[in-house]
Amino acid sequence: MTGILFILFAGLAIGCATSMVVQRNPLYSAISLIGVFISLACLYVMLAAPFIAAVQVIVYAGAIMVLVVFVIMLLNVEEEERRPLRLRFLIPVAVILAAIFFAETAFIIYFVQASPVTLSRNVSDVGLTSSIGGGLFTTYLLPFEITSILLLMAIVGAMTLARSGGLLSSRAAVVPGDQVFSKELLDRREPGDLSAVTTHTTKEAAQLLGVDKGTK
């Protein structure tokens, strides 16, 4: 029973992975990748790790891939054209690496089956919610916190890159007539640069400050 399910989901995972690489349409690749994630989650369930399976689906299939699909849809990415293959020397290298990989797998299967040691217990508590939570908040607390700080840095970095327009808030109003701004005020990527930028019309000033929403 378990064997049949394993073959089913493993086959599905490999098939989806192959399809992900082969497809030329980015959206089809994304859908295949979702298939890979979901079949992997099923394999985790069979390995008695339900929590990891659930998180796999929620985080990878449900959040990250939604964003990928979202971006593909938003940019309206067209199907990639088939280009003549460059770097032809990679093909024999790939064949050799695949051969080594299969040899390794065969070696491991043969020796694991031949070894006299049998597994002491079939059920582990590695994938259970309580053991993961306990581990995260006791033994591995520091790495866990550092990871969260890393994520925070990524968010702050993205915000800084996206809002490099100016230091003014979006509610700032523009005074009519000639105005002089410092360059520092207009572009926060150049702090300390006080050279003057003069504008003559309200519209120009608004454009420089990035507050001219709806005035075009």
């Binding site: 979702i34 929590f51 929620i58 299939a61 449900g62 699909v69 919610t129």
Partner: protein, 358 residues
């Protein structure tokens, strides 16, 4: 042999649950049309069968026999896949909900818990499957090759990602409270006096309940958050190009989603099958459960009849600037109360001083 027996029992359970839920969903559609009719001062469909009772059947036959039109420049495979994803993801969550307590099945004389699959991470399973359901709508919008559809699909994916966050955070309060992700245990903990006083809604998670309800309505794309299919702007949003049975599948997915969201709210906040005299007559639990679910469904219909639609920027700012911070506040509050033991103290006080609290 024992394996086969187990599989047979589970299949039977899935069949019964599927049948019951589908029937109730069909009649939710009828109820929605009739209640909306009454709210708007008209009758609603009442001609097919007594009081319109056979209307869902007539609708089904109509959907099956309608012509199935596929747009010429659509992406065929994805266009067919999208309604399937939406429906399957909606229906798959049914298996983890506890419909009732442990009951004696007549005829075979066996005592079973009325839940098809009880496992360690039931709540996370629900969240995971629901989050996959977004693809149905997003891909439908993309593959139809239509601007309105695409806008609907984009809006819905943005909306569902945003509100999923608030939804998940609102549920953390309940998880902190009960210390488990297993839905059956969460219901059992809410028994209380007469099966009412222990509900999470009443004295532990009122804020969490409100946040969950709001986020869940947004998650199911219902009024007042039905931006993905705003008729006035987008024709019909993501399912503009869908017709006949494929449209019916989207329609079905929406109502099944409503139903499962109501079941989750009942399970987590309203004590599931808990109610007066369930201990004496276990089968009562099933009726309590579905009664509470029907209450939620009525609430949905009521909202649809009375509230106007949000604007998209209002929707986004409400989700991110109000719901998420409130949800985080709720988590901190629950954790603090739980850590200080205040809730246990109140419970003990009420029990000893009034002798009333269960």
């Amino acid at each position: 042999m024992e394996d086969l027996k187990q599989i047979g029992l589970i299949s039977l359970g899935i069949f019964v649950a599927f049948f019951v839920v589908m029937t109730m969903v069909a009649y939710t559609v009828l109820a929605e049309r009739r209640v909306l009719g009454f709210i708007q001062g008209r009758l609603g469909p009442n001609r097919v069968g007594p009081g319109g009772f056979l209307q869902p059947l007539a609708d089904l036959i109509k959907f099956i026999f309608k012509e199935d039109i596929v747009p010429d420049k659509s992406t065929r495979f994805v266009y067919f896949l999208a309604p399937l994803i939406a429906t399957v993801a909606a229906i798959m969550t049914i298996v983890v909900y506890p419909f009732g307590p442990e009951v004696q099945i007549p005829f075979i004389n066996k005592s079973v818990q009325l839940v098809i699959a009880r496992f360690d991470v039931g709540l996370l399973y629900v969240l995971g499957v629901t989050s996959v359901g977004v693809y149905g709508i997003a891909l439908a919008g993309w593959s139809s090759n239509n601007k309105y559809s695409l806008m609907g699909g984009l809006r819905s994916s943005a909306q569902m990602i945003s509100y999923e966050l608030a939804l998940g955070l609102a549920l953390i309060g309940v998880i902190l409270q009960s210390g488990t992700l297993d839905l059956y245990s969460i219901v059992e903990q809410q028994a209380g006096h007469l099966g009412i006083t222990g509900w999470n809604l009443i004295w532990a998670q009122p804020l969490g309940f409100f946040i969950y309800l709001t986020a869940a309505i947004a998650e199911t794309n219902r009024v007042p958050f039905d931006l993905p299919e705003a008729e006035t702007e987008l024709v019909a949003g993501f399912h503009t190009e869908y017709s006949a049975m494929k449209f019916a599948l989207f329609f079905l997915a929406e109502y099944v989603n409503m139903f499962t969201v109501s079941m989750l709210a009942t399970t987590l906040f309203l004590g599931g099958w808990a109610g007066p005299f369930v201990h004496q007559v276990p089968w009562l639990g099933v009726f309590y459960f579905f009664g509470k679910v029907i209450l939620f469904l009525f609430f949905y219909i009521w909202l649809r009849g009375t509230l106007p639609r949000f604007r998209f920027d209002q929707l986004m700012s409400f989700g991110w600037k109000y719901l998420v911070p409130f949800a985080i506040f709720n988590i901190v509050l629950t954790a603090t109360l739980q850590w200080s033991g205040a809730l246990d103290y109140v419970a003990a006080f009420l029990k000893t001083s009034t002798g009333w609290w269960g």
